[in-house]
Subunit: 249 residues, 2 copies
């Protein structure tokens, strides 16, 4: 299968850097084709901006969705976005590897969504959710946190991790992905191979490497997170009055 890793960390010697190398090696050794988008290494520009549209439909105002659609349809997408769109369309599985910064993705990765999930090319009004253009592909967030695991439990002070990641999952489902449960690695603090706690870093990485490899090779068989879809909603986009999930409690 074709796997795309979208990697976002400013330091290759970080825990995230090590995780991405493990992912590549493990998948390649089990016969998968692996593509990598290393956003910091590529110097990816995360800012959606009129400068990315050489021949806009309207140069007096900048309406991102209008320009995205036109650029896609007229084959004038910015080259960096075009490359990412092509990688995305070729992938059967996408793994996002990043540190959780301020309760979400680093800006660099958020901008990848802002620019690469092109209106008219990756989704449109009809082709969203379970009719999304990326149906049949799988995606997963693998990330590190600074705070310890307990604090991300439902009653912990860092906030329930399921609630923190839910908006990010919504973005994947919106374009049609089968969304796999995330792979959080908690309590990774200032870790780098050349840093003071190098021994602790290596020990922790060894543990996480085994836990991750055990999961990684089975990702194509995992059950995706259930979401409601078009047949569950009324015309206004609300869960049907008769829907059993209204009584889930």
């Amino acid at each position: 299968m074709q796997v795309l890793i979208v990697h976002c960390h400013p330091d290759p010697s970080s825990f995230n850097g090590a995780m991405t190398r493990i992912t590549r090696e493990c998948l390649a050794s089990t016969g998968h084709a692996v593509a990598l988008s290393d956003l910091y290494a590529q110097g990816f520009d995360p800012v959606e901006h009129s400068r990315h549209y050489e021949a806009p439909t309207n140069s007096a105002v900048f309406q991102p969705l209008t320009e995205q659609r036109y650029a896609f349809e007229s084959e004038q997408l910015a080259p960096d976005v075009r490359r990412e769109v092509d990688k995305l369309k070729a992938a059967d599985l996408v793994i996002f590897q990043f540190p959780l910064w301020w309760h979400g993705m680093p800006a660099m990765l958020k901008g990848w969504f802002d620019r690469v999930f092109v209106y008219g090319g990756i989704y449109n009004g009809e082709r969203r959710f379970d009719r999304g253009m990326l149906q049949g592909k799988r995606a997963l967030y693998s990330f590190t946190t600074g705070g310890p695991a307990e604090t991300f439990s439902p009653l912990g002070r860092s906030g329930d991790i399921a609630k923190l990641i839910w908006p990010l999952h919504c973005s994947l489902y919106y374009v049609g992905f089968d969304v796999l449960p995330p792979h959080p690695i908690y309590g990774v603090q200032g870790g780098g191979l050349q840093y003071q706690a190098a021994d602790a870093f290596r020990k922790r990485l060894e543990e996480e490497k085994h836990r991750w490899k055990d999961r990684l090779t089975g990702l194509f068989e995992e059950m995706p997170i259930p979401f409601t879809g078009w047949s569950d909603w009324n015309e206004a986009g609300i869960l049907l009055d008769s829907h059993p999930l209204r009584w889930r409690g």
Copy 2:
């Protein structure tokens, strides 16, 4: 009072652009001092990167938190971050104005958090949550969505807006802000003053202007969103076994 508007939209003629102008005029006319951070106009760099640290503690690896703390303590913060930190510390109220893109902030604004909420300067391990350095200040998210209001209801297909915004609220509370309920403006699609639907845009803006002004002048009297704090948690950062919120249902 001192109000800081952190504005993030690539087009000044957008609905968000109009909202920020309304906010400035209304607050100034009622005697408040208003500062503006117009991130696109400033060309703010949202990418946390080693290039922002001229004299790093370690040039072999890049550990953002270590470098943030050192740069703050040694008065070597990048000038663009220094200016934002100063504005933030001077403000009694911060209003964030932006479009909801991919279930969160645009990358430009996310990067403002990544870079400006400086470790050691805006928070540290002891000074977080209700002991946060920004205690006594208020903050609010004012944003537009493309989808209609109904779809952001608890059973709507766009996702419950309270759940989508919750991680963003966590970031404000983490540094000590009193977090006010957000001000969503739903169903703003491709709107710009020079765009095809100019009449609809002006009519909608007029309605929203009145609704927003009614709220704006009372923001200093509003009740903030309740969060649990240090006295509610045990040493591991989990809600106390005896806490009444465990039985809220």
